[in-house]
Symmetry: C2
DNA sequence: GCCTGCATGTAACGTGTTACATGATTTA
DNA sequence: TAAATCATGTAACACGTTACATGCAGGC
């Protein structure tokens, strides 16, 4: 059973507890978003497919006239999740426009690298701010989710620091060579 | 003029010098791949679109019976590139399956976080090895492309170190709370 | 003569975002 | 009563990879 990118996130989240599609999206946005995004347009159809495949089952939880379906893992769903979890390696993809701009700065004959490094730094600063907010909201969870959150915060702090350091270096000795 | 993801890479690379589609792909694979990938299936159609839009022009450079088209920037192409280069912010996307697995480790009731951190570490080790190889091949380029390469190497070294450190910590004091 | 590398291109498929449509409930 | 939030879902579009098809040139 090959799981799609979104299926991996959905099954994992449902392993933490039953949830509606809406709640899954909320959780993704407040936690995995920085390394694993998902949109409604993926979540709802995927939930349907997973239900048809018997990995997930839905339970009606409507309150009055407001429709609501809470999904939970089936035995097969948990098995599929464990199989994926134990499998080696996996996707790693990065798309970073800030780095691309720096990469081409020299070809454009512009000495804007320090400026671009500071822009990149600002982005990481913002991510740190957001992740800290999430950390406060999640306080005391003290498990593997926190480890990942800590990783995100510390990595972005490192990136911000690296960009600042490198920008400063380039400004001190603008052209050592070339 | 909104540029597609692949267009940004193509125009930037052509700013470093005229190249065939094949050579563009080679360069991407040996340099920007880790933060900005592109495949033939994107490059050739995009080259066609950019030519039709007047941002790029092709020159026949066939040798004997072997077909070859070398592309270069037009004035409009360089203008579009500079406009993008000067615009704020931009795409930042990460998809990291290793982190996702760690995120869900606790929910699966498994104490595999140290093992998963070491797997994640191995991946960064491999990236460092590859980037070092690229660095040697590019030796002495001494411009903004090297800055980005250095960033890739040092960031992945930091990640490897963080994973190792955190795995060791978790093994020393397995459960401080919970 | 065969394999590797240069060179171009497309078709099929899968993935993913955005915007829209709809409607109920809660809060200010 | 208006706005925000809960809640579900789809259609159109954009993006991107993989695999395939084709053929030339150079070295062994």
């Amino acid at each position: 059973m090959e799981l799609s990118a979104t299926a991996k996130a959905i099954l994992g989240i449902l392993a933490m507890g039953p949830r509606s599609g809406y709640e899954i999206k909320q959780l993704v946005d407040r936690s995995t978003r920085f390394f694993w995004a998902a949109s409604y347009g993926q979540i709802y159809p995927e939930l349907k497919r997973l239900t048809e495949a018997g990995l997930v089952k839905g339970r009606d939880a409507s309150t009055g006239g407001r429709q609501r379906t809470v999904h939970e893992l089936t035995g097969a769903g948990e098995a599929a999740l464990r199989e994926w979890h134990g499998s080696p390696a996996g996707v790693y993809e990065l798309r970073d426009e800030g780095l691309l701009k720096i990469f081409f700065a020299a070809a454009l004959g512009e000495a804007r690298t320090p400026e671009l490094l500071r822009q990149r730094r600002e982005h990481s600063d913002e991510v740190v701010t957001q992740l800290r907010r999430v950390e406060e909201a999640l306080e005391g969870a003290s498990d593997s989710t926190c480890t990942v959150l800590r990783f995100g915060i510390e990595m972005n702090e490192w990136i911000a620091d690296w960009c600042e350091r490198t920008a400063a270096e380039l400004e001190t000795k603008p052209k050592e060579k070339s």
